[in-house]
């Protein structure tokens, strides 16, 4: 495929010219970085000197999101994002997406599609990875042709999802607008099952949107009646589809291997695993909120909401900004029993055996930390959709002890008011002493290793080593000594030593 069309140079140029941007950031994922000079060169030759182009790589978070912070370092006015994208809304900068064009055998795909239609006897909704969007027109034509020739049952239809658009503009006052829109949704969709994504009442039926795709289901039909046909590799975008539409039958067409795959066992496995994590989160005392994005619209709002939610559940939360989480980073916070990752839909699903504590999504956090709420099977991957729904929760207010499936018995949660409501009056001191005394009772090992700590300070107090202690025996100040200089990887004096004694340091 030629370079020009793969990177959509001309449409990019139109986008930049159309809005008269003068500083443009080009964001490349790692695997496309090698092409960045060529792309930049091609764009420059089209745009001329007036537009300054900056190549950005190695985003701190997922490469699917627009790195707005990186772009604002160079005062860019817009971002052109290359490669796989999650199409999350941006908060400050307009962004243009270039998905790239993956090769696909349209004929074979159409054949598989019509095969599915005949064998499953269900209407089909075709969803695809954004990199296959370019082939959609050809595919439609091919399928229509093959259906005509085979005279198949006309009552069953094949519908196609559309790409929402390749340009995203930030909304000026995003949050308030969002809130208004959501309240409208609420009134409209009250009687229906709310399923994932952007759902909007349109005269002709139900509108769905997820991961940059959108589609309509005519009134009187349910998404469960459809067979979802996914074209593309098994990636996080596909996992999101699987989780959101966990009631639907999903078939994946692998364009590279040209084969059809069913992921039913995998689908239930992932769902069950998430279910387990929700149960596990219910037992947590200390929750770490991982800020996994600094760009996706509404992230500050959801962080605030998470904090409130965790507090009202009687748990302690700490907000951590650590870029892309890895085992070493998470293990630096052994006091956290669980982490909630606030990030775009496609990077939020983290499940690694190597993490000391599991990482859950904001939706799962809502499930876990709202008392009396049960999982009905729906799954929301976008936290924007959550912002609206959280407030309307009704607390059942049962006083019954909570049953923990992790511990296999009833456990009692810390009452939220216990943490912040201090007893007033003459008994305050006695109560405080009481608490101090009972703290001492607890075995430090149970706090450290059995997740019994209720706050970071409690955890710290239980540690056997607490860092350097002040020396009170000798109050006189010590004479200062000159410290080392250089970087931790090798201080200046160390380097010198290594030179002196070759072989002494491995």
């Amino acid at each position: 495929m030629d370079f020009e069309s793969k990177y959509e140079i001309s449409s990019t140029v139109d986008f930049i010219r159309g809005r008269t941007f003068t500083r443009v950031a080009l964001q490349f994922p790692d695997e496309l970085l090698k092409d960045s000079p060529l792309v930049a060169k091609a764009l420059r030759s089209e745009l001329g000197k007036a537009v300054r182009l900056y190549v950005m790589a190695d985003a701190a978070y997922g490469s699917c999101c627009v790195d707005e912070i990186g772009a604002s370092h160079v005062d860019a006015e817009c971002v052109v994002h290359y490669g796989h994208a999650c199409m999350s809304r941006t908060s400050t900068l307009p962004a243009k997406f270039v998905f790239g064009k993956a090769s696909i055998d349209v004929k074979d795909c159409a054949k598989s599609l019509s095969h599915c239609l005949s064998s499953f006897n269900k209407p089909i909704m075709v969803l695809y990875g954004l990199e296959y969007a370019h082939a959609l027109v050809n595919l439609k034509a091919e399928v229509a042709e093959s259906l005509l020739s085979s005279h198949s049952n006309s009552s069953l239809k094949i519908s196609y999802a559309e790409v929402v658009g390749t340009v995203i503009y930030p909304s000026v006052d995003h949050l308030t607008e969002k809130a208004q829109v959501s309240s409208q949704y609420d009134s409209l969709t009250k009687t229906r099952i709310t399923v994932g994504g952007d759902e909007r009442e349109i005269k002709s039926g139900t509108y769905y949107g997820l991961g940059g795709l959108s589609w309509n289901i005519p009134t009187g039909h349910k998404i469960e009646d459809y067979l979802l046909f996914w074209i593309g590799p098994e990636n996080t975008a596909f996992t999101n589809i699987m989780l959101t539409f966990n009631n639907c039958k999903i078939i994946r067409y692998d364009a590279d291997k040209k084969c059809l795959l069913e992921h039913l066992s995998n689908q239930t496995r992932i769902l069950r695993r998430r279910y387990y994590l929700v149960e596990k989160a219910k037992d947590a005392n200390i929750v770490g909120i991982l800020v996994g994005t600094l760009g996706v619209a509404g992230y500050l709002h959801i962080i605030e909401q998470m904090k409130e939610l965790i507090k009202s559940a009687g748990k302690k939360s700490y907000t951590l900004v650590m870029g892309r989480p890895n085992p070493a980073k998470l293990a630096n916070f052994p006091e956290c029993d669980i982490f909630v990752s606030v990030s775009c839909a496609q990077t939020a699903l983290l499940d690694s055996k190597d993490f000391l504590a599991p990482v859950i999504t904001p939706f799962e956090a809502v499930l876990a930390f709202t008392r009396g709420r049960q999982w009905t099977g729906e799954y929301v991957v976008n936290f924007q959709d959550l912002i609206a729904s959280i407030g309307s929760e009704v607390n059942e207010g049962t006083e019954e002890a909570r049953f923990s499936f992790i511990k296999g018995g009833y456990v009692e949660d810390i009452k939220p008011q216990e943490n912040d409501k201090e007893e007033e009056g003459s008994l305050a001191l006695a109560a405080a002493t009481d608490k101090a005394l009972s703290l001492q009772n607890q075995d430090p090992t149970s706090i450290l290793f059995k997740r019994n700590a209720t706050s970071g300070t409690m955890f710290f107090a239980a540690r056997t080593y607490q860092g350097l202690n002040m020396q009170y025996e000798n109050p006189a100040p010590q004479s200062y000594v000159i410290g080392r200089s250089g970087r931790a990887a090798g201080y200046l004096d160390e380097e010198r030593k290594a030179e002196d004694l070759p072989g002494a340091v491995e």
Binding site: P334, A401, I406, G408, G409, Y410, S438
Partner: protein, 843 residues
């Protein structure tokens, strides 16, 4: 049956000296429920309206179908003693009316937890032993449990009818059999020397042993016969009783008592002469329909038969005659009333077992004195599902004070710590209820010494709890019960229709509440797990779950899942090293198997994290040959900080070592919970930290760097130390006649079991076989065994130990290797084990 109104019953409940709380315990199939039935038939208190209803204790349909008791059932009996029979009674009493709260418990080992719950709320136990089969494994287990709870036992040698009808043994032989049964029981009881409880052994000549035939509804103690003969011989009853047991012989020819058999044909043992032979004679006469002989004999004994009964023939006649002559209810009830303690008496010494707090505080004193006016102390021992689905009665015993409808109570759960607010609720009792047969009757209040059921507390009590008055903030809870079995058989359950999930969750919660033993958990993969003590227990639980707690919604139950343990065979072949993610820190470790018995010592709590280091090092050096200094260098136990694995610090002169200790321990807790083979718990592995190289800057040797590294190096050392799987093994006890032995051996061989003891029960054609059987092979074992022995063998399985599987799990295709890949598949892990190279780093 005694017809009572709730008010009448309530009146007797105030007489704390006239109450007996007792449980019936025995091995499975020794006739507990049948015996209980005959007592209930005679003395059971039932509500006036439902008189005539039968079969009181096996209330569940499945119990009746299977012919075994599953849940323990409480029932109240009323007995009025005659003045004459009470004249020797030394204890305190008020009037002659007695209330006996009896709990019939299951005998199958799978339901031992029910027995434990029953024992807690009773003061005495009627131990039922089959006179032919003798003291069996479950008899022993429950007897030990009872004595541990300071429950005073009395014994009944049951199924006497078998001696007369089936085996037709002569008097002396029968005496020897009974003597042996009693001796066997006494051997167990003798090990529980307890100055407060006094001598707990049972003696026929003291009236603490009865001889009964539950099926035919008759029983006697030597008291019955002593009364009969005392006048005749002109001696007092106690003297006569002594003569009726042991080495006392009587020769009717010389009319002389001797302590040795004179050898003359007419000289017989007192018991044989005066008890066994007369019964035998009556039974034989009845069976042979020699009515002309029978009536004079009965007249002599003072037995009056009704006219319509005189027409009965054979067995029916015999039953009727024996029931009239020696009614089981009066013999057994009188024995209980005489020899089992009243709550007032029992709580005096049981308070030490019961109360967790200081034994001189007001609550301990109230329990000790069984004070109805003291503060309320009530222990809820189980939750009984109520007729309206989803609700439970909290069933328990009032130890002091009184509980009444509408009372605000302080509920202290099992995790309550005095002075804290954890697991503590203040709620009011909606209704107090007493059981009258199958029917519940509301009463105003229930005073101490009685059992009670309460409505309205089920949301706040999980399985058991201690209840006290609202204001009694300094009361300590009553000690939690200790169970003798553990839930080892697990199945995964899921609902057939995904939308039933909330129902399943709710059902599991209720199941967990209704059964003292069952454990409902969840696997890492998100599957719901139900764990029970045995196959039968689990079957019953799942049935309850589906039918009662989920309203019949369909569930899918997986094959039983057995958990394994991971261990090592040898010391690591080399010291392994792992580097931290930043490559600046290195941990060196070795793994080695623990000494034999050490893991068990940790399991039993003899060695643990909270030991005094001196005591610990003494045990370790003396029993397990550890170096004394090394014993002080144990960093921790795991998993869950108490498990049977440990980390020992073997390094010398390492800088900053104390700084990373917590991180290494955290990594170890994690790794020992999920071993490298199949993420099963580790067991009996000792990890030695050999050397540590750390970065000079604290920031580069933090938890983030060390915790994952510690986990990796632990895995590496496990994999280099010849890892092995441990499988759980049952101890199986089977009792069967000789001709069934072949079948038993066949089935055991086929199931990888091995017999280590085979013993003939003296005086019987029965054999007692003890064998080890891997738990994984035990599913369907009892039905296979029954099929192979035409129903003559009945096994009892109890978890015994972990056994190492000899094959190498690292070798693909080996038995252990296959198991590992099966477990990994079930857990949804990568089918291939992570290779050593992922965990070990090169320098």
């Amino acid at each position: 049956m005694v017809k009572f109104t709730a008010e009448e019953l309530r009146k007797i409940m105030d007489l704390k000296h006239n109450i007996r709380n007792m449980s019936v315990i025995a091995h499975v199939d020794h006739g507990k429920s049948t015996l209980t039935d005959s007592l209930v038939a005679a003395a059971g208190i039932i509500a006036q309206e439902v008189a005539g209803d039968v079969r009181m204790t096996d209330t569940r349909q499945d119990e009746a179908e299977r012919g075994i008791t599953i849940k323990s059932t409480g029932i109240s009996l009323y007995y009025e003693m005659s003045d004459e029979s009470l004249k020797n009674f030394k204890g305190e009493r008020v009037g002659n009316e007695y209330l006996i709260n009896l709990i019939d418990s299951p005998g199958h080992v799978d339901f031992s937890s029910e027995v434990t719950a029953a024992l807690r709320i009773t003061d005495g136990a009627l131990v039922v032993v089959d006179c032919v089969e003798g003291v069996c494994v479950q008899t022993e287990t429950v007897l030990r449990q009872a004595l541990g709870e300071r429950i005073r036992p009395v014994l009944t040698v049951n199924k006497m009818d078998r001696c007369f009808l089936e085996l037709q043994v002569d008097g002396e032989e029968a005496y020897q059999t009974f003597q042996r049964v009693i001796e066997n029981a006494n051997v167990i009881m003798a090990t529980y020397e307890d100055p407060l409880l006094g001598d707990v052994q049972v003696y026929p000549e003291k009236g603490t042993v009865a001889f009964s035939a539950g099926l035919h509804g008759w029983a006697f103690t030597l008291t019955n016969f002593a009364k009969m003969y005392a006048a005749k011989f002109g001696v007092d009853e106690s003297k006569m009783m002594e003569r009726l047991w042991g080495e006392n012989y009587f020769d009717p020819a010389t009319k002389k008592w001797t302590t040795k058999s004179t050898g003359s044909a007419t000289c017989k043992r007192g018991f044989v002469q005066f008890c066994y032979e007369p019964i035998k004679q009556i039974i034989n006469t009845c069976m042979n329909d020699q009515k002309d002989k029978l009536w004079p004999m009965l007249q002599k004994l003072g037995v009056v038969m009704k006219s319509d009964e005189k027409d009965l023939m054979g067995k029916a006649l015999m039953k009727r005659v024996m029931q009239t002559w020696l009614p089981a209810s009066s013999a057994l009830l009188e024995m209980m009333i005489f020899h089992l303690p009243s709550p007032a008496k029992a709580q005096r010494y049981r308070v030490e077992n019961l109360y967790e707090g200081p034994l001189d505080d007001v609550y301990a004193n109230a329990i000790r004195n069984c004070d109805p006016d003291g503060p309320l102390m009530l222990y809820v021992s189980k939750m009984i599902p109520a007729s309206d689905k989803g609700r439970f009665f909290a069933f328990g015993r009032v130890f002091s004070g009184r509980v009444c409808t509408g009372l605000k109570v302080r509920i202290m759960g099992p995790n309550y710590v005095p002075g804290q607010k954890k697991d503590l609720y203040v709620k009011s009792v909606q209704r107090t209820v007493i059981w009258m047969g199958k029917k519940q009757e509301s009463v105003e209040d229930v005073p101490c010494g009685n059992t009670v059921a309460m409505v309205g507390l089920d949301q706040f009590i999980t399985k058991n709890a201690t209840l006290t008055n609202e204001k009694e903030v300094d009361a300590h809870p009553i000690r939690a019960m200790k169970f003798s079995v553990s839930p080892v058989v697990r199945v995964a359950v899921q609902c057939k229709v995904a939308s039933d999930l909330p129902k399943l969750v709710e059902g599991l919660k209720r199941l967990a509440k209704s059964d003292p033993m069952v454990v409902c958990t969840m696997e890492e993969s998100g599957e719901h797990i139900v764990a029970g003590a045995g196959e039968l227990h689990l079957e019953i639980c799942l049935k309850d779950l589906q039918e009662d707690f989920m309203g019949g919604a369909e569930i899918i139950v997986s094959d039983p899942v057995v958990s394994f343990r991971e261990t090592v065979l040898e010391k690591s072949c080399r010291t392994v090293m792992s580097k931290s993610p930043n490559k600046h820190n290195r941990l060196y470790m070795e793994a080695r198997p623990m000494e034999d018995g050490l893991a068990e010592a940790i399991d039993d709590g003899r060695i643990g994290p909270r030991d005094d280091p001196k005591v610990r090092s003494k045990i370790l050096s003396e029993e397990f040959g550890w170096d004394k200094d090394l014993a002080k260098k144990i960093w921790c136990f795991g998993p869950e900080t108490t498990g049977p694995n440990m980390v020992v610090d073997m390094c010398k002169g390492v800088q900053y070592l104390n700084e990373i200790k917590d991180s290494v321990v955290a990594g170890f807790q994690w790794a020992s919970k999920e071993g490298a083979l199949a993420e099963e718990n580790m067991r009996a592995i000792c990890f030695e930290v050999c050397d540590v190289v750390l970065h000079a800057d604290a920031i580069h040797r933090g938890g983030g760097q060390v915790i994952p590294t510690a986990r990796r190096v632990i895995y590496a050392s496990q994999l280099t130390a010849k890892p092995r799987l441990l499988e759980p093994v049952y101890l199986v006890e089977i009792q069967a006649p000789e001709q069934a032995l072949g079948g038993i051996y066949g089935v055991l061989n086929q199931k990888r079991g091995h017999v280590f003891e085979e013993m003939q029960r003296p005086g019987t054609p029965l054999y007692n076989i003890k064998a080890y059987l891997p738990v994984i092979e035990s599913f369907g074992f009892s039905s296979t065994l029954r099929a192979a022995t035409s129903g003559q063998a009945f096994p009892q399985c109890v978890f015994d130990h972990w056994d190492m599987m000899s094959s190498d799990p690292l070798e693909p295709g080996s038995q252990a290797g296959q198991l590992v890949s099966d477990i990994r598949k079930r857990k949804g892990l990568k089918e291939q084990m992570t290779p050593l190279s992922e965990f070990e780093d090169k320098l």
